[in-house]
């Protein structure tokens, strides 16, 4: 199979899910064509054809076939381009732990962090409490490691990209302060390491653009 065939990625400039895939492609040095999908304005016929089930980005197209769901895509990239920059550990137990924490970030932490900033007032207090709990768990899991993956960026770090970058900007836009250097020194250090990585930096959306977007979202209808 010729793995050098063109890879296409349908993504959204500000989406942490979309960026997860770009980060992995860049870390592995895989060239790709990026196609911006303005999903909030109009989903393209291409997107609807390639991801009929969820109709969301990111979608990866490789060898004429499409794959959806960011973490599924990341595992696909890992399985297909095995020799460069491993994202998952080699040991099956360590792999299961990486998947566990990535799922924890995806299912539990991301949504509570977002709702703590943006959610309806009635839910806000509960979300803030849950956000603290989630971050505490992650702080403990990170420990003194440079990254969740150890010395290099791995699966959990990629899954937690929202926490490393987007969340800080969401906090700034909403005025809600949950993840501070005081309360979560290890996560703070980690997010600086992550965002400061030369390859990750290339991929992250511009801060001012995201800030403006969040301010508009929080400002327009804080009860949404």
């Amino acid at each position: 199979m010729n793995q050098e065939e063109q890879v296409q990625l349908l993504g959204l400039w500000g989406s942490p899910f979309s960026k997860r895939v770009e980060m992995v492609l860049k870390l592995k040095g895989i060239p790709y064509e990026y196609i911006e999908e303005d999903v909030y304005v109009q989903k393209s016929p291409m997107l609807l054809k390639l991801n009929p089930i969820h109709r969301k980005v990111p979608v990866l197209v490789h060898q004429g076939k499409s794959i959806a769901e960011s973490l599924v895509i990341v595992e696909y990239i890992e399985d297909t381009w095995k020799t460069s920059y491993p994202i998952l550990p080699h040991d099956p137990y360590e792999r299961s732990m990486a998947r566990f924490w990535a799922k924890y970030v995806d299912d539990k932490v991301m949504l509570t962090l977002w709702k703590a900033c943006l959610g309806p007032e009635s839910e806000r207090e509960k979300m803030v409490e849950e956000a603290y709990e989630g971050l505490k768990c992650l702080e403990k899991e990170l420990g003194d490691k440079q990254f969740f993956g150890g010395e290099t960026i791995g699966f959990i770090d990629i899954a937690a990209d929202f926490i490393a970058y987007w969340f800080g900007i969401a906090q700034e836009a909403s005025g809600v302060m949950i993840m501070t250097g005081e309360k979560f020194p290890k996560l703070q250090r980690w997010s600086e390491n992550f965002v400061g990585n030369s390859i990750i930096k290339e991929v992250l959306p511009p801060k001012q653009k995201l800030l403006a977007l969040f301010k508009a979202q929080f400002g327009n209808d804080p009860s949404k």
Binding site: I53, I67, V72, Y76, P92, R95, S96, Y104
Partner: protein, 221 residues
Amino acid sequence: MEDEVILLHFWPSIFGMRTMIALEEKGVKYQYREEEDVMNNKTPLLLEMNPVHKKIPVLIHNGKPVCESIIQVQYIDEIWSDKNPFLPKDPYQRAQALFWADFIEKKLCVCGRRVWTTKGEELEAANKEFIELLKILQTELGDKPYFGGNKFGFVDIVLIGFYCWFPAYEKFGNFSMESECSELMAWGKRCMQRESVTKSLPDPERVIGYVLHLKKLYGLE
């Protein structure tokens, strides 16, 4: 050194059934431990092995816990890789299997819960969505005997636990699985011919009894 494998499970849990089926398919010797009162009285072992979620199933392999059923099934497939592989070798086929497992987890599980916990308009909406989701899965199955193709595989393992819950959904949702999704029911019956599945799925009548008990407990009658 022989492996020590323990499965902490609670018999009606669709999640625990996945792990049990996976272990049985691989012929792994394991100790089954029932968390009899998992809602109100979790055992110290469960709390120690799954401190983050405090939920079953937990797979304990040589003293080390693996949590989350789909992750456990992947783990079992990777450790006991010489027998009955669940996931295809081809990366694209693997990705498709993981995609559908994720679909079942994120969409079907959540919706299924609403079928027996809601009433009136909410229930009608839940029923409609549930059947739509099952039809999507049925389309994905197509003409194949299993989601895995000719072999019982990963997606089959992730979905089959629902089969013993279908009569409960039918009863409380007031619809007929056979008339809505007959091909999926045929797939279920096919899977039930496997020993791993019959061992792991409880009697649907028992599940109905359990749901009735929960409905009373939470005042959902």
